[in-house]
Amino acid sequence: MKEIDRRNDNLNQDWQRVDARILGQLLVAQNILFVLPDEARIAEFFSEALSKVPGVTSCSVCLGGMLVPAVVDREACSGCLALQSKEGGMWAIPSSFSCNWADRQRLRVISLNTAENNFGFFIFRTDSNDTFEPYWPFLNNLANYVALSLENRVQKLLLERTRDELEDKVKKRTEELRQMNERFSLATRAARLGVWDWDLQKNKLIWDDRMYELYGVKREDFAGAYEAWLQGVHPDDRAYSDEISKQARRGERPYNTEFRVVWPDNSIHYLKAYGQFVRDENGQPIRMIGINYDITERKQMVEALAAQEREFRTLAENSPDNIIRYDVNCRAVYVNPTLEKTLGSPVSEMLGTTPVESALIDEPEKYQAKIANVFKTGIDGEMDIVLPDRGEGVRYHNIRFVAERGVDGAITGVQAIGRDVTERKQAEAEIQEMNRELEKRVAERTSQLEAANKELEAFAYSVSHDLRAPLRHIDGFLELLQKRAAEKLDARSQHYMNTISDAAKRMGVLIDDLLAFSRMGRCEMAKKPIELSVLVQEIIQEYEPETQGRLIHWHITDLPTVIGDYAMLRAALTNLIANALKFTRQRQPTEIEIGCLPNQHTETIIFIRDNGVGFDMTYADKLFGVFQRLHRADEFEGSGIGLASVRQIINRHGGRTWAEGEVNKGAVFYFSLPQTIQEV
């Protein structure tokens, strides 16, 4: 320090000796130090100024390790010379100075030091130490000044930078806060939260807009104090709400509560409240900030659910069905009173036990497996169980197992709903017994029928052989007799012989018809579609030779196609048409209508109407009987088999036959055929 002071003194002394021109330049340089923007130019400026100091051949200013080569020979400026500064730090000196020893003797270095930093060096090469020497203290002082100025500048820069950073940080923080605030405000608005802020010291309660909505009061009607808030709380909830607040204030519990508020219109609303105390350094609460929100809807939903639950429970309690609910371990969690009565076992004994454990029914393992299966597959199950006899006979119950599902669809339980089906079971058994009996009877009847049919067949067979032979013989021998004795017989004898012959012939016809009728009842049926209109036309044509000379008006309307046995239906229609022709013989003209009744859905009804002699409805039932005739043979020939055959054929097709008529006013014969799906 003494050294510096001495130098400063010297400098002051030296001021007089220093060339004013140089001084001026350096003073300019001092100002420049604060004006020039960068170190390179500062260094350049100083080195130019210093090189004008008497005795100096060249000067270099090295700032922060920066060399300004404008004043030194560029070529010489490669390589560096390590130089020990006064303080012992090593500096790299441009190589232009590292020439020979003699040169070194002429090198002068002044460090630009402050207490904190070393900013560089002034490096001189002198040609005349004597000339230079007087400037030495001055240059030292200048170096100090430059260093201090640089230090000042550095500090200023540092300060500026810190300030900028700080400002940046504050700005950023402010923005963050703003955003946070916005988010919070959005959140509170979205959640419809009311925010309150209570200054405990001044007992001032500040609400946001939502708070007023939540309490149903206007801003101007709210006194803004704790007591005013408490006044809005439902009278029944005030005491505990106040207590909770006090406990929270004492730090005994967090402030987290629910209470009802009564609006001025007397409507009641449920609120939920959270709050946080701000305490001073002594832990005394000074402020409380919190939120309120409306939970009325949720409360109502919970209440509604509870009500629903109560309703279902009432339903289950009063159901005539037996109801048990099982948990996933097949343990009963609910048993309704009906079941309690049915089993005669108290609910308490059944709850918490599995069916196998309680063993109140037969085969409880099978029953429990059904429950487990519902849990496993999710498919509802069913089974019939037998309840042990409790003095009133064995009871059968039908149980349905139904899955209970949670919100996520997972099975949370199984309900077993049982119903006494004993009566149904008994009825079923009776029906089965009746069916068996019926089947047995049908089988018996069938075999009887089969036997009868066989007998009938044998009978028809022998009729066919044995009844016909005598007829042939009567006729044969009668003819032989006639050949031999015709001339010898008188008219009466001849008449007798003719009568015998006619009678034999008639009997032959009867036998043939009867056999045909019997065959009709026995033969196999081959059903196929039959176009009735075609069939009717064929039959009418067949009769044309017989009806020559008669005036007959045929009225044949559209006839359907039916399903049936062709040969049989042909025989039936032939019979009916032949009858119509026969009994209209005396009618001129003859009117015969063949048609189909309209709009019959389950059956097709065909009718044949004629304007013939008709019949007395009293005997309508006899018409279709075998050998039943309403006319004498000498009036209308016939065997009495025809309509019986028709009925037989239609019966075998599953249809019906009937007739309407009036004496001398014609007759209508009807037959029906069932309509089947196959029908075209």
């Binding site: 067979y461 022998s462 066919s464 052989h465 044995d466 016909r468 032979a469 007829l471 042939r472 013989h473 006729d475 044969g476 021998f477 009668l478 003819e479 032989l480 034999a504 012939k505 032959g508």
Partner: protein, 146 residues
């Protein structure tokens, strides 16, 4: 040697035998009509046993067979004859009162050569018998049965 041209008539009913023989007689078609009264006799005749042991070895040129007979009926006779390697060659005409389809089918299944239902009217019956006689005696070439 000229074959004897005999007819075997198997028939139980005397009236029918009479009518048949009358009809056959009208045309003098055959040398001989052998009448047997039931199925057993018919087979005895064909196999030359019992009372027919001594008959000539000639076989009838045709058998007229009734169906409904006591003991062995016509169908059974037909069955046995047609089952015999030798006898099956003899033509058999079933002559019956019935046209039961059951009989018809059975006889043809067994290999009957003709099936005739006896007409009720005598004239027709005589005509039928005549035609049978003409056909089997004169038109048809009989097999050689050794």
């Amino acid at each position: 040697m000229e074959p004897s041209k005999s007819i075997l008539l198997v028939e139980d009913d005397l009236n029918d035998i009479e009518l048949t023989l009358t009809a056959l007689g009208e045309y003098n078609l055959v040398n001989e009509v052998v009448v047997v009264r039931d199925g057993v006799e018919a087979l005895d005749y064909l196999y030359r046993r019992g009372k027919f042991e001594q008959r000539s070895s000639e076989y009838p040129i045709v058998i007229l067979l009734d169906l409904k007979m006591p003991k062995l009926d016509g169908v059974q006779v037909l069955q046995q004859v047609k089952a015999d390697q030798q006898l099956r060659l003899i033509p058999i005409v079933v002559l019956t009162s019935s046209r039961e389809s059951r009989d018809l089918e059975e006889c043809y299944q067994l290999g009957v050569n003709a099936y005739v239902v006896k007409p009720v009217r005598l004239a027709e019956f005589i005509e039928a018998i005549r035609q049978i006689g003409v056909f089997w005696m004169l038109i048809n070439e009989p097999p050689n049965i050794v």
